[in-house]
């Protein structure tokens, strides 16, 4: 008994992120069955370790004048790490037979980065894992095969590296000012704390740079987008919970993201880009909740992030199977797939109901907690915006995704249903969506603050049923207005994708007009120089080295050469002796 206990106590000192990182490295090192075992066991082991991380700083290392705390536990940190590890496990199951090994390895390293962020006790550790996520998520983007993926990956990397630099400057400034790198709640009040906030918000896909998400995610492979949807934005939400709870500017930013996500998703034709915009929308709910900052709101942000990772991954899995089986990305290319893909369709619908917050699904028991927080603080505008957005979520993701992909019209496509591992992964997540919906206390008990909220009162259920069902009615009545078009929608990234290259071409052209006369006169003076040089150096003809050649080009007699060398040597020796 004692040995088992000490064994578990020993486990506390193993950073869970390192286990998953080791797993990622092993995926590249082994093959065949061994690789499958690594894919399944590494996240399971990580899950176990995450569960046993105790509250408080587990161990610390001195670094220069600072204290590095690689692992610090708390309920909200464990909750996020738990869902990140679970995501790696089920995502690994979903992907391991279809994805390239380097994509799988990158995905596990990426998940390890997210888990490392979850337990980071200081800002330096946070930053290191932050960059681990940036690097390996870029690799996942590059594993995609769609058109323009290389350039999109570079844009993605630049955005995250820039965000990382802003974060780093903020951290250093804060460290110099306060003498501490401890990760604790701060106020955005000076330049450096603002830079930390901005650096974190870049990863949360906040405005004005929300576009990176919808630009990169849909271009990754069908399996890659499942991993991408889970980690970066939610790790940013956790960082906001830990660093900026109650920072009121986040309320406005969150509401903007909520509306942005809906409007852009409504305009979109690419199946996975609809889901990508809806990630921004859902993260907006969480950012807004962190801005409200009360115990209920922070509970809401954490629990909604947990539920969101599951149903959003489920939606991306369902869409991924469609892309994998048909090779098509656009709503206008597919339709009527429910005939031959019942499992994928049903799992997709469960995910769609969950994201919409239908009663009996996870979205209902988690998102309403955020609305509850708004009512407790008497935030009328926020409450009505969030309620309208809940209706809008059903509109843009809840019905739009399953309708255009699985129903709509008969596209004539008869693809096979999901391969068994993909189907199993979807079923596990679909089950969890419903489990959290019918037994929310399982999740509530893991939250940082005690929950005094009852989602299932008859009045609450009826209100949301009215809201959602009439949104459904609106969808079908407005269908003619929502005809899909072969278009994309411009975003702020137009500035650097179109305007910047155009401006640079203009600058180059202007440079040419200004530079050309200057260059011409320079050439003229060069010609003059050349003439002078040629009179001194050049030989007029190859045959004779006569007096007609330039001074230095003439063939000198041996005597005069020796004389010149002797003079030079004398001068050299004199200078040497005199100095």
């Amino acid at each position: 008994m004692r040995t088992i206990l000490t064994g578990i106590q020993m486990l506390e000192f193993v950073p869970p992120a390192l286990v998953l990182l080791t797993g990622a490295a092993l995926i590249g090192a082994v093959r065949g069955t061994a690789r499958t075992l690594v894919v399944l066991i590494a996240p399971l082991l990580t899950l176990l370790l995450v569960w046993y991380v105790p509250n408080g700083v587990v161990f610390e290392v001195a670094f220069l004048d600072y204290v590095i705390e690689p692992v610090e536990g708390s309920p909200v940190r464990r909750l996020f790490a738990l869902i990140f590890a679970l995501m790696a496990l089920v995502g690994g199951l979903y992907a391991y037979r279809q994805a390239a090994w380097h994509e799988l390895a990158a995905a596990y390293a990426y998940a390890a980065g997210a888990i490392g962020v979850s337990f980071a006790g200081d800002l330096v550790t946070l930053f290191i894992y932050w960059e681990v996520m940036a690097i390996f998520s870029t690799i996942i983007v590059w594993c995609g095969a769609s058109r323009g993926v290389k350039a999109a990956g570079i844009r993605y990397a630049i955005m995250h590296l820039l965000g990382g630099i802003i974060l780093m400057i903020g951290i250093e400034g804060l460290a110099v000012r306060t003498g501490s790198i401890d990760l604790r709640p701060i106020k955005a009040e000076d330049l450096y704390s603002w830079m930390i906030l901005i650096g974190v918000l870049v990863n949360a896909a906040a405005p004005p740079v929300s576009a990176w998400l919808a630009d990169a995610y849909p271009r990754s492979s069908p399996t890659g987008s499942v991993f991408l949807s889970a980690f970066t934005t939610k790790a940013a939400v956790l960082a906001l919970i830990l660093l900026f709870p109650g920072e009121s500017v986040l309320i406005g930013i969150g509401l903007f993201m909520v509306v942005y996500g809906i409007l852009y998703a409504l305009l979109e034709n690419d199946i996975r880009r609809i889901l990508a915009y809806s990630v921004v929308n859902q993260v907006g709910f969480m950012v807004c909740a962190v801005g409200i900052g009360t115990a209920t709101a922070l509970n809401g942000a954490a629990t909604h992030a947990f539920a969101h990772i599951i149903y959003k991954a489920l939606l991306f899995m369902s869409a991924g199977v469609v892309v994998y089986r048909t090779g098509m990305n656009r709503c206008t290319d597919v339709g009527g797939l429910f005939r031959t893909m019942p499992v994928t369709a049903i799992c997709g619908i469960v995910g769609a109901l969950a994201i919409s917050g239908f009663p009996l699904t996870s979205g209902f028991t988690t998102k309403t907690l955020i609305s509850q927080a708004a009512t407790q603080e008497s935030m009328l505008f926020v409450y009505f915006m969030l309620t309208a957005a809940s209706a809008g979520v059903f509109l843009h993701a809840g019905i739009k995704f399953p309708w255009f992909v699985f129903f709509q019209r008969d596209s004539g496509l008869r693809p096979k249903d999901a391969p068994w591992n993909m189907a199993l992964a979807m079923m596990i997540f679909a089950f969890l969506c419903i489990l959290i919906g019918v037994a929310p206390d399982l999740l509530y008990s893991l939250l940082p603050h005690p929950v005094q909220y009852q989602a299932y009162t008859p009045g609450n259920v009826l209100f949301y049923l009215q809201l959602l069902l009439f949104s459904g009615l609106a969808f079908f009545l407005l269908l003619p207005l929502m005809k899909r078009t072969l278009t994309i929608s411009l975003d702020v990234d137009w500035l650097w994708r179109a305007l910047l290259p155009r401006a640079m071409r203009q600058v180059a052209r202007a440079g040419y007009w200004i530079g050309q006369p200057v260059l011409a006169s320079a050439l003229k003076s060069l010609h003059g120089l050349q003439k002078i040089a040629s009179t001194l150096l050049s030989s007029s003809s190859a045959s004779s080295h006569t007096r007609h050649s330039g001074f230095f080009a003439r063939a000198w007699s041996i005597g005069s050469t020796a004389r010149a060398v002797a003079v030079l040597l004398t001068v050299y020796v004199l200078v040497y002796l005199l100095s």
Binding site: R147, G148, V149, K150, A151, I262, L263, L266, L267, G336, F338, R339, T375, L380, Y383, F384, T387, A388, A391, G392, L395, H396, D410, T457, P458, G459, N460, L462, F463, Y464, L465, Q466, L467, L468, L469, F470, S471, G472, L473, A474, F475, L478, L481, M482, T485, L486, T487, I488, S489, L490, D491, R497, A498, P501, R502
Partner: protein
Amino acid sequence: MVDEDKEHWLARRATIKKLWWGFSALLAITVLAQFLIHVKGYFIVDGWFGFGAVYGFFACLAMVLIAKGIGFFLKRKEGYYEGEDDSDGHTNA
């Protein structure tokens, strides 16, 4: 036109008609049920009869129209960015 009998039962016109009837009935029930079930209004108006239904419908209507409106300015052909900045060697199809 596809032969109705060969069509999947869910895609038959008769089924779709039935679904619309069922959906309409469900809509009516959720509103009428408010006679029996008290909906707590946190800000008074949200407790009004049928508020959820009206709010949900008009919120969606507004969002679709706004999306249409901004789409008018922001929508571009799919190949808009290609050829401008994509260095992958793809050309506009």
